[in-house]
């Protein structure tokens, strides 16, 4: 096999230009916070209850996590998230896990959650409307909001051990609060 390997100047220009533009947007986003549309977001949980993101952040840090049944790293991560939730829920910490299964698998979500006995908030988003509001392209994807609605941590993908970073951020948040 002989892959032809030619990086033209045009390709390099696109790479550098595109990435520079994206990073430039990032540099001034030092204080990305809950936008108005996120603050007004009311999510319906599997139990039929409604939770407001703004209301949750007023009580404590909130982790918003996007996952799906077909995504093995997502399911690995959720097991660790339950442990973190158990540890910090009494301090006001909340988790909202937004399922991204479409119409093919969404009917199985409640069965899976029940078998795992996850106790944090679970919501379905089979038409991807909530994912679009957060501009989610890949999963698992997590955002940790502090009580001011500011993002203090975000993670794309999951590797075993990544949950320690979430714990570290929560320890910082709770120690700062004290």
């Amino acid at each position: 096999m002989k892959p032809t390997f030619s990086l033209s100047k045009l390709f390099l220009r696109f790479l550098v230009y595109r990435f520079a533009a994206t990073l430039a947007m990032t540099t001034m986003l030092l204080s990305y916070s809950l936008s108005q549309e996120h603050q007004n977001l009311v999510i319906q949980t599997l139990n039929g209850n409604e939770v407001s993101l703004k209301e949750l952040t007023s009580k404590g840090p909130v982790l918003v996590n996007f996952w799906a049944l077909w995504c093995e790293p997502c399911k690995l991560e959720m097991k660790q998230l339950q442990s973190i939730y158990n540890q910090y829920k009494d301090k006001g910490f909340s988790i909202v896990a937004i399922n991204q299964d479409n119409q093919k698998s969404v009917s199985k979500v409640s069965s899976y959650i029940s078998s795992q006995e996850y106790s944090f908030y679970i919501s379905t988003d089979s038409d991807g409307e909530i994912a679009q509001q957060f501009n989610v392209q890949n999963i698992p994807f997590s955002l940790l909001f502090d009580t001011n609605g500011m993002i203090v941590y975000k993670a794309l993908g999951y590797k075993p051990g990544d949950e320690k970073k979430i714990e570290e951020e929560l320890e910082i948040l709770f120690s700062t609060k004290e």
Binding site: Y32, S35, P73, K104, S114, S115
Partner: protein, 546 residues
Amino acid sequence: MSRAKKKCELLPDDLISVILFLLLYTQHSLTQTIVPSVSNILRYGNGERGFVGSTQQVSYFENLTDIRLNFPPSVTIGFRLLTDDPPEIGDSFQGIQRRFVEFRQDNFSLRAGNFNEMFGRGLALNLFENRGLAYDSWMDGVKAQYKTSFISATILGGTINFRDSVTIARHELYKIRAGNIEMNLIKGFMIGISFVDASGFIPQFVGSKTIKAEIPEIYSQFQFSSVSGFIGYAHKWTNVLTDTSSHNGDGVYAALSYKGKGFGITMDYKDYRYDILDPFDRGASERSTRMLPFQNAPIVQKEFNYTLLTRALHQVDFNDEVGFQIEGYYSLSSSTMINLNGSIASRHHYYDYNEKTFLFTERKRNSSFLPTPEKRLSPYWELFFEAEHYFEETSAIRFGAARRENILYNDFTGAQFSHTQQATIIPLQLQYSLTQEYSIIVQTENEFAYDSYNTSNEHYYTQLLTIIFTRSPNISIATRYEHTTNTADPSNRQDWLVGEVGYTFGQSHTTTISYGKERGGQICSNGVCQYQLPFEGIRFSLRSQI
């Protein structure tokens, strides 16, 4: 239509980038009010792809940037900048592929531009995008919604320019007007009704057809204590204006779930009769009376996360298929879980071939509302079992077994020349945490397959071995090796080996580079799962979520 390059008609994409750069970086007053979010996917590949005796040089470059700008309190502007040239699949594109303006106030929202939408479970309308399969049925138009805890109402109108993901040069054009209302009559009980009115231009192999279709739908969803369910019915009336013929079809989908402490069980049922035809006519995938591309109902089959199982044996025929699926999850303990799944599907009726007249006669089956394993009705069934056990906090072992069979009955010749495919797949995965930061995953999938159309070797064996080494949170190193004894694989290969390195930086930027031969399927690498097409060469991707 040839694979011609499409360019944005408004501005060159470089100039758009400059404008964005200036707008978002230099305008300090604007940054105080605009809340932006950006996601970017950059993919590059250079290599080749083999198919049925030939090898094709393949090179692709894709950069997809989705931007949302929220102008408090009520307005959001969004757009997608796409450079897909040369494309991995489909048409080339450079410029603004999507754009929208959205206004939200209290319970009301109004969106103009590109959008997706699903009514119920997609029997009448399900607009979505799957870039890995080159499927995009997003609409360009206007959508208005009003949502409260009691009622949700949606009206929309616009056009869909749908590219056939198989014959990518072929485009179908639809003009749609649709509405949907959902009412929560009492807590835990919802009823919904939809209506879709569509006119379409559908190219055929010779000429084209214009159609008018009307699709009313009714559905209900309930949840009482441990039981929840859904049932929906849609009817499709199609008037083919080109030849003044009309056609009726319908579809039913239902789901029932029961959950308790540590377990849950779900049963799905489908009865799709959108376009039941005899064997002569059912093979025409471009026919105008079929289920239309803006409809996408549940497939009632399991979505697997093991690579070999994601290579589906069975393509769901939404025009003529009945079936059901049962899936159960059970936790033996807090560290051990079992998953069981079974599904079966088949056609509705028999077709008897008359060798003198060369015509088929339909013979209706009384129990056509149920699937059957009878070979004459092209059945498909699969059984799946998986057990997962965590022996440490982040160390686990997973064992599975799947058996599936697909029969495509040849109504012309009978059982002798029907296509039978069978497979037994045994996956095994060991995930072990060496330390708090370092872990290793070893996964093997073994397939014992039979294919009656494989004249070289009907019985063959395939093994996939994956080894992933990770260092949280930054590094992932993986290798995948696949070997098959099938000498008639369309890629002309029997071995595939790929090495991959991934690095995560800045919390939400993930870059992956791989080199080697990839057979394709659902691949989980560097902490993210995605569908990959077969490829041999070097690949690079950068995924950013800002």
